[in-house]
Amino acid sequence: MSVLLSVNNLKTWFKTDRGLVRAVDGVSYYISEREIIGLVGESGCGKSVSQLSVLQLIPTPPGEIVSGEVIFDGHDLLKFPANGPEMRSVRGGKIAMIFQEPMTSLNPVLTIGRQLTEMLELHLNMDSEAARERAIELLNLVGIPEAASRIDDYPHQFSGGMRQRVMIAMALSCNPKILIADEPTTAVDVTTQAQLLELMKDMVVRFNTSLIIVTHNLGVVARYAQRIYVMYAGRIVESGITKDIFGNPRHPYTIGLLACVPRLDEPRGRKLVPIVGLPPNLINMPPTCAFLPRCPYRIERCQQEPWPELRLIDGQHYTSCHVDTREK
């Protein structure tokens, strides 16, 4: 499998009245062809911003992509002007995004059909008839019943799950190389969540697409992702093959995260071990490890040295921690 997209040392900072927010602060990751990867973290850890940066969708100001490169198809996407023709052909065309809130990301005053055909006409130069036919086909594919008649409905006439299916159809419409799903199932019920994730998995196989799942749900990545990146306070703190991360978590944050969620299959009476304290405020952060105040493994060295870079521990397993957490 060859690498399709590689993001190197990406930094996206926001200048606010109260100080500098390093929302994404030196993030590197890659995705190969036909791969499903997961980007896990809590709200505010920078997982969405890192994805929006790839597509240059960061509102500037206050945000700014300070440094880094995004290599896709042999080009550094960050070298292209944000509104230039190159970026426009990437956005929605070669890299498509499925957003969290299907109600706010669909245009309420345009029919589903219009929103779908617009993409097909713009990116694939289809005429309106062919585009409409293709749109119906896509809606069928994502499981919208009676697609031919529902294509002229407006977003509010669809349920939350159905709207998200429409979003998936839109994302797939131009045969993208990469699909980015940003918390695709937070607003829906569990059975709908399962339906949508299975649908995405099937579509990835069918369209030969790679999928980046951005989520806070560890279960979802355990089920679907082949590799995982765990983010905390703007950085990746651990990455590796899914089974390595779950079977042998090494960063204190990952260990903490796994210990604090109740599991469906656990025996009764297991006590949850919460992570003490709060996620950090990203304004004017100290240079030391951001997890330090909450870390049960911290040592002298953590207070003196800056946040460590990711280091390889074995195979493809990386962690950004001084401490060998296995010894405790």
Binding site: T242, V261, R263, D265
Partner: protein, 327 residues
């Protein structure tokens, strides 16, 4: 079981909301939000109520607290039927029961201090006699939920989400109630904070003898973790009711099985081997529920009879109840 053991006994509870249409606001139909459900909660135990949005779990909780007057059925609270009591008789009962809300941002008055929020029930129910006693009780409540009593004069926006939910818990505890209805108490919190609140609720239950929870949530793993028994609801009815161990190890109702299989477990080794049942379609509108068993149009086991008879919730042994004619 002695009658004393039961704190809440719900019998055939129905809560219908009228659908009004037209200029004259004529009633054209009912939304059967809760349609004849029965269950018991023993003193000191936790019953989990789980289901997808629109299944009637929140309505059930609100009926028990008598925030709604049920259409039909009985709610025995500490042995007395409260289902049709007038508001004046309900008020004194309210100190015996309280509620923790989902949204720690919307459920606290932004202009009241945290101490006043927690202490208000004490004043409303005349449970303290002096300012000093009031202050002491509020500080004690703060300590009970793990908040620093020095923070009583701060206002809600100065607290984090998890701390705000602790204020909500302290307020619920203020009158030393026997029943607390927890309605999605952690779903608005960050993953790493959720465990803190779950543990707090559990510690309080261990510390305060007889404290009973009705724990309403859509997240089956959380419900199972905290509850002694679990009732699964679908479109206004209970489809399965059993202890939380059996629920995972031997689920009988097809909907329960679907629900369980839809929840991913944070363990790729387990996930590899799990059976996945993916449902077709979506939850029908509660305004026009399917005939017979509400679940039959989506059920993998459905037979023609399922669309005709409403399956009763019957006991299959060991307190395990299920409403399905196919099991």
């Amino acid at each position: 079981m002695t009658p004393d053991d039961t704190l809440v006994d719900v019998k055939n509870l129905k809560m219908y909301f009228p659908v009004l249409r037209g200029l004259l606001r004529r009633k054209v139909a009912d939304v059967k939000a809760v349609d004849s459900i029965s269950f018991r909660i023993k003193r000191g135990e936790t019953l989990g109520l789980v289901g997808e949005s629109g299944c009637g779990k929140t309505t059930t909780g609100r009926c028990i607290l008598r925030l709604y007057r049920p259409t039909e059925g009985q709610i025995l609270f500490e042995g007395h039927d409260i289902s049709q009591l007038p508001e004046s008789k309900i008020r004194p009962l309210r100190r015996r029961m309280s509620l923790i809300f989902q949204d720690p941002f919307g459920s606290l008055d932004p202009r009241q201090s945290a101490g006043d929020i927690v202490g208000e029930p004490l004043k409303v129910h005349h449970l303290v006699n002096s300012k000093r006693e009031y202050r002491e009780r509020v500080e004690e409540l703060f300590r009970m939920v793990g908040l620093d009593p020095a923070m009583v004069d701060r206002v809600p926006h100065e607290f984090s989400g998890g701390q705000r939910q602790r204020i909500g818990v302290a307020r619920a505890l203020a009158c030393a109630p026997s029943l607390i209805v927890c309605d999605e108490p952690i779903s608005a919190l960050d993953v790493s904070i959720q465990a803190q609140i779950i543990n707090l609720l559990q510690e309080l239950r261990e510390g305060l003898k007889g404290l009973t929870y009705l724990f309403i949530a859509h997240d089956l793993s959380v419900v199972r973790h905290i509850s002694d028994s679990v009732a699964v609801m679908y479109l206004g009815r209970i489809v399965e009711l059993t202890d939380s161990i059996t629920l995972y190890e031997n689920p009988l109702h097809p909907y329960t099985r679907v629900l369980l299989s839809a929840v991913p477990i944070a363990d790729p080794f387990v996930e590899e081997k799990r059976e996945r049942i993916i449902l077709k379609g979506e939850v029908p509108s509660p305004l026009y529920p399917p005939t017979g068993c509400h679940f039959h149009p989506r059920c993998p086991l459905a037979i023609p009879e399922c669309s005709q008879v409403v399956p009763p919730l019957r006991e299959v042994g060991g307190g395990h109840k299920v409403a399905c004619i196919r099991v």
